[in-house]
């Protein structure tokens, strides 16, 4: 086996131009991080976390008597030429362990250490000589006794978080180097397995088993319909927007209230802070705007009501025919309500700080259109329709940066309110696919127009 050349000679000049050695260096770097993380983690666990765990789980309880009090002094050179003195309160305790009387100075965790001697003395004053106290001793070494138990959670976090980060960075980097060593682009892509873990940003949506690049539709079929088989989930429901507006209005106006109270107190005290008032005005304006936006959205959501879509089967197949049930709640009248089947392409390109996502509807077919719909508060408007998927339609496709998506879109024009658009994603499988028996396709044919199927 021939080692990669460390240097190349060209026209008499020696140079270091070796991708292989660069990769070796990369591997060594990540390997060093991994080893450092493991060592650091091991030290922390053995020095801090493990002893604390033993105190809380393996030490035996007994009662003891405080015989004396004192301060343990430790000096640390940190950095060199600077000395830090730490004080730790200690108590001499007489206690019985396995039938044998012991007298020992108590041990404690590093949390009781302090560099302030007065603070350490004040802590000692919490304990009185001659009092009986509950204490715990180490059965393996009975001369070790503690008077307090519990966990310093931040120490545990430190024990796992910092070394864990080093191990994760070093480990994933090392695995990436090993997997990519000497491999072409196709070889690296073909070896994808845990690569998704190594590069989560590039991880595409989960693919349906047996159908690469076709998205799974488990989330779309886990909600049964009341009339038809499935109720389709809505994409980016407006309720989240409403919650977002509400939270923004709440938090922003909380800040406005704090500022206003401060300004008011100043005013009552005979002082006027012009800077505070100047800041309060625009903040108040934004706060009022936030409340207005939230209320408007709330009223809109109430007036328009929820839109629900049920379908007779899912996933869809090219050439398939499916019943859909459109249900619209709310109050008032809708001038139009349309249901369309659309095919949308989405492409994302990242360049520097720019992330550019473009979406384009390349195909649209109106499935149903209803005019002058009146909904009541105690009932909803319903319409049945039939969706025909084209015979040779492109199936749903998803990859890390690109997608081809099918969706059913409901557009409504309520009276006195702006038009709304609600999207229900569906998945179309490739043509020629044999779906499992449990997913039977509906072949019911409806010839009536949607307006004749209005039910209330």
């Amino acid at each position: 086996m021939r080692l990669p050349r460390f240097y190349a000679k060209k026209r008499g000049h020696r140079r270091t131009v070796s991708r292989e050695w660069g990769v070796v260096g990369d591997g060594l770097f990540h390997g060093a991080l991994l080893v450092a993380g493991m060592c650091f983690g091991g030290l922390l666990v053995s020095g801090v976390a493990a002893p604390e765990w033993r105190i809380n789980h393996e030490f035996r309880e007994t009662t003891g008597t405080i015989l004396a009090k004192g301060l343990a002094k430790t000096t640390v050179a940190d950095p060199p030429a600077t000395v830090i003195t730490n004080w730790r309160p200690c108590l001499l305790v007489r206690y019985s362990a396995n039938g044998v009387m012991h007298e020992s100075w108590s041990h404690s965790t590093t949390a009781t250490n302090t560099s302030d001697r007065e603070v350490a003395l004040r802590r000692l004053s919490d304990w009185a000589l001659g009092t009986e106290v509950v204490c715990w001793y180490d059965p393996a070494s009975p001369t070790m006794v503690v008077l307090q138990r519990g966990y310093n959670w931040w120490l545990w976090l430190l024990s796992f978080l910092l070394p864990g980060a080093l191990v994760l960075i070093g480990g994933t980097g090392l695995v990436r180097v090993i997997r990519a060593w000497g491999k072409s682009e196709e070889h690296r892509a073909a070896s994808a397995g845990i690569s998704e873990l190594l590069d989560p940003l590039a991880q595409p949506a989960l693919a349906a088993p047996g159908y690469p690049a076709v998205p799974i539709c488990d989330d779309l079929v886990n909600s049964p319909g009341t009339v038809l088989r499935y109720r389709l989930p809505i994409e980016s429901p407006e309720s989240w927007t409403l919650v977002g507006f509400g939270l923004f209005a709440l938090l922003w106006n909380a800040v406005v209230v704090v500022l206003a109270v401060g300004a008011g107190l100043d005013l009552l005290g005979g002082r006027i802070d012009w800077w505070l008032f100047a800041l309060l005005v625009p903040f108040l304006g934004v706060g009022i705007g936030g409340i207005t936006l939230f209320i408007r959205s709330l009223v809109f959501a109430t007036a328009v009501g929820p839109t629900q879509l049920e379908i007779s089967d899912h996933p869809l197949l090219p050439g398939g025919r499916y019943d859909v049930l459109l249900a619209q709640g709310g109050t008032g009248t809708f001038q139009t309500l349309t249901l369309s089947l659309e095919l949308e392409e989405q492409a994302t390109f990242r360049q520097g700080t720019d992330t550019r996502t473009e979406q384009l509807v390349v195909w649209r077919q109106q499935v149903a259109c209803v005019h002058d719909v009146s909904a009541a508060t105690d009932s909803r408007f319903e319409a049945r329709a039939v969706v025909d998927v084209p015979n040779i339609a492109m199936h749903s496709f998803t990859s890390a940066h690109n997608a081809v998506r099918w969706r059913l879109v409901v557009r409504g024009t309520p009276e006195r309110w702006p038009e709304f658009c609600r999207t229900f994603p569906v998945v179309v499988f490739p043509v020629g696919v044999d779906l499992p028996e449990s997913t039977s396709r509906s072949l019911v044919v409806h010839r009536r127009t949607p307006s004749q199927e209005v039910t209330q």
Partner: protein, 241 residues
């Protein structure tokens, strides 16, 4: 349209590294002159210019030339401040004398960027960065754009002899440039759309018709059938086309 090809404005053909670096007049940039200038600055400098002016393209072509001089030139692209650890790591891993090429330096911010610069200086690494505005580095080149530059870029795209002047015209190029204020990337995106619209006059999906008026027949565009190329040291991941 015989000999029709796939859209030459797709990102495969227009991303940084796929297009040769050109100056504002559309002439090839003399990379040796820039390298000499960079050495004159001590090896650390910035490529400055507005969005879509060719900074990343220039950086992508300079980096392999820096490696030819006997050093390594690791490249890293920042998308946000979350990528700062990656920038630190790249500087830390580089050897003294290497030039770390960082795209979108402004993501580091003033404070962290200053610290990274100190780290690089103290440890003997050089930095070649791109930025939309001055960031305190010596300015290697100020990237500017012009209609002539865009025409030169378009004239260098694959199989332009087939479609340039027939599908995409000079007026289309100038209009795209004007529509996007000189942003070459956005101009190329618009030309992509124009090419698609011109290359697919009347086609339909599935033959079932759509709400827009579909024609009776479909025209299959002929996709490019084969392409060959070397993958050389410093080449972009795919050097085909």
């Amino acid at each position: 349209m015989t000999g029709m090809v796939s859209n030459p404005f797709s990102t495969r053909h227009t991303r940084p590294g796929s297009i040769a670096p050109l100056d504002a007049t559309g002439r090839p940039v003399d990379l040796d002159v820039l390298l000499d200038r960079l050495h004159g600055f001590g090896g650390t400098a910035a490529i400055v210019g507005p969005h879509g002016s060719g900074k990343s393209t220039l950086l992508t072509h300079l980096a392999p030339r820096l490696e030819r001089d006997g050093r390594r030139a690791p490249r890293i692209r920042l998308h946000s401040s979350a990528d700062i650890p990656a920038a630190w790591s790249a500087i830390h891993r580089a050897a003294p004398g290497d030039t770390v090429c960082i795209d979108s330096w402004e993501c580091t911010g003033r404070l962290v960027g200053g610290l990274l610069r100190i780290l690089a200086r103290v440890t003997g690494r050089h930095l070649l960065v791109t930025s939309h505005h001055r960031v305190g580095f010596p300015e290697l080149v100020q990237c500017t754009t012009s209609p002539a530059l865009l025409r030169a870029i378009v004239g260098g795209l694959p199989k332009h002899g087939v479609w340039l002047g027939k599908v995409i015209h000079a007026e289309d190029i100038d209009q795209a440039f004007a529509n996007h204020g000189g942003n070459l990337r956005e101009s190329l995106y618009e030309l992509y759309d124009r090419f698609e619209a011109a290359a697919s006059p009347i086609q339909c999906v599935g033959g079932d018709g759509s709400i827009d008026h579909a024609g009776p027949t479909s025209i299959h565009r002929k996709i490019h059938e084969s392409a060959d190329g070397f993958s050389y040291v410093g080449a972009p991941e795919r050097n085909l086309g």
